[in-house]
């Protein structure tokens, strides 16, 4: 690829319909999920998705700090999405940034839509997502990891939450954008699906799409989510079927 700052746009779609990494338009990147990867957390999961590496941990339900945030009739759901300084090409300064804060909010709200929060009044369910290596779709990878972590923590929910970003590259709707496709494509649409109801609890979009392209994107995203859902369930079964702790992040 060109050097840092170069303006050359990579070829995102070859004449025979193959994407920059050889995938078909409706093909997901490879994914590996390890449930219970951490020891201290109540629940955890490690997700390797394409070149993304994301760790999620859940603590709770537990007492709320600071106390004034507590709700008398339900648990609050707090989420903090954070990127490690070395996770991106250009080092990211540690600390809060507005992008991470926004992502934290939409993810917290997605989960609050499926967690049975009324079962735990005056408590907090804390979700932490750390991106160790980023290659587009980190918020979706974070949702997938956090969802598995919540199940690992025994938190009652309507369903697991598979998530994926659909986009438009070289005028075509494509599933699961990688970095170059996200940077140089024409649209990006991350979404999270509740398989039990078929509804979306996370949905964002940026770019240019016609109504028809939107419709196609949503349909393709749902298909992608259902495939990811099976992987998430398998990761949990792998952990709990035979019992015993998982090997850890690099197993």
């Amino acid at each position: 690829m060109g050097s840092v700052g170069a303006k050359e746009v990579p070829v995102l779609l070859s004449p025979d319909g193959k994407r920059i990494d050889g995938r078909q338009l409706d093909e997901l990147r490879s994914m590996r999920i390890v449930a219970g990867a951490l020891h201290q957390a109540d629940g955890s999961a490690f997700v390797e998705w394409g070149a993304n590496k994301v760790m999620a941990a859940v603590y709770g339900p537990r007492e709320v700090h600071p106390r004034h945030l507590q709700q008398n009739n339900k648990a609050i759901v707090q989420c903090k999405y954070n990127m490690a300084a070395f996770s991106v090409d250009e080092r990211k300064r540690p600390g809060l940034d507005r992008r991470s804060q926004e992502i934290s909010k939409v993810i917290a709200e997605a989960f609050e839509s499926v967690i049975f929060v009324e079962e735990f009044p005056r408590t907090s369910i804390d979700i932490y997502i750390e991106v160790l290596q980023a290659n587009a779709g980190t918020r979706c990878a974070g949702v997938v990891a956090a969802s598995v972590a919540l199940a690992d923590a025994g938190i009652p929910m309507v369903d697991l939450l598979p998530a994926v970003a659909v986009g438009k590259v070289a005028g075509q709707i494509a599933l699961d954008l990688k970095k170059e496709e996200d940077n140089f494509g024409e649209a990006d649409l991350p979404m999270a699906l509740v398989p039990q109801s078929g509804r979306l609890v996370l949905l964002q979009m940026e770019g240019h799409m016609t109504a028809e392209e939107l419709s196609k994107s949503l349909d393709l995203g749902v298909v992608g989510c259902r495939a990811i859902y099976e992987k998430m369930k398998q990761a949990l079964r792998d952990r709990y079927q035979l019992g015993g702790p998982a090997e850890g992040a690099s197993a």
Partner: protein, 260 residues
């Protein structure tokens, strides 16, 4: 820090065991938990490593970028170390600005790297007074079950030893090269449990201890940094004998970092 209180009987039990030369998890006084290190864990960094000591897990990433040297050292590159003790890693950590504990871990790891002259900073200089490499060492804790300093320093050293200077990518040279690491500092941490001083404290041992001492050594049996932390005391005799133990443990960690 959220309020997680330890049971006093557990702390007493840890001290009772130590009096008999035993530890909670069955280790000997001078025994580490299982140590593993995996270089290249993060492809987006110029050098990286995942280090584990028992259940404690830490990822270090080295990133090199071009920047301006400091005005008072125009011929030197810049090295900066930061440790993030993120709330993901332990129930007692809260989100927010760095706790003094995180700052201490950052500075202790940095001190050893700098004092040992692990990297010759003048070699990082590209154009004196104008352009230099800035070397960021970022340590990201992902599972805190005790002894973050040793895990962080091992991860940092391994990441440096396997780091590439992205000279070609930044248009400074024809090709990338290996980052030149001259010396290999490693930290060894002990805590006092009554009269016994044990190496590689677990999380419970850190809570029960009466003082912590970290000694950093290099491959030439020099001591390059020390830090006494937490509440408690060590005699000069203690320090001398701990230095000997630190050389031994440091050499073992160095081999892991190099040979990984």
């Amino acid at each position: 820090m959220t309020n997680e209180v330890t049971a006093e009987i557990l702390a007493t039990h840890i001290l009772d065991l130590a009096r008999e030369g035993r530890r909670l998890d069955g280790r000997a006084i001078d025994e580490y938990r299982k140590v593993t290190v995996e270089p290249g864990f993060v492809a987006s960094a110029d050098g990286s490593a995942l280090a584990r000591i028992g259940p404690t897990a830490v990822v270090a990433g080295v990133k090199l970028e071009l920047g301006k040297p400091f005005p008072d050292t125009p011929n030197a590159g810049v090295l900066t170390t930061n440790a993030e003790l993120v709330p993901l890693s332990n129930p007692t950590f809260e989100p927010g600005p760095p706790h003094p504990r995180a700052i201490e871990v950052s500075r202790v790891i940095d001190r050893a790297i700098r004092a040992a002259e692990a990297i010759d900073l003048t070699k990082l200089c590209v154009t004196p007074g104008e352009k230099t490499w800035v070397c960021y060492v970022d340590v990201h804790v992902i599972d805190h079950s005790g002894n973050l300093i040793d895990a962080g320093s091992l991860a940092a050293l391994t990441a440096l030893l396997h780091a590439t200077l992205p000279a070609k990518r930044f248009g400074v040279a024809e090709s990338d090269s290996r980052l030149d690491v001259r010396h290999k500092p490693v930290e060894t941490t002990f805590v006092r449990l009554g009269d016994a001083i044990v190496v590689d404290p677990s999380f419970d041992e850190e809570l029960a201890c009466q003082g912590r001492l970290t000694i950093a050594t290099d491959e030439a049996s020099n001591i390059v940094a020390m830090q006494k932390g937490l509440i408690g005391a060590f005699s000069p005799e203690d320090v001398k004998s701990l230095a000997e133990r630190a050389f031994h443990h440091g050499d073992r960690m160095r081999k892991l970092a190099e040979g990984a």
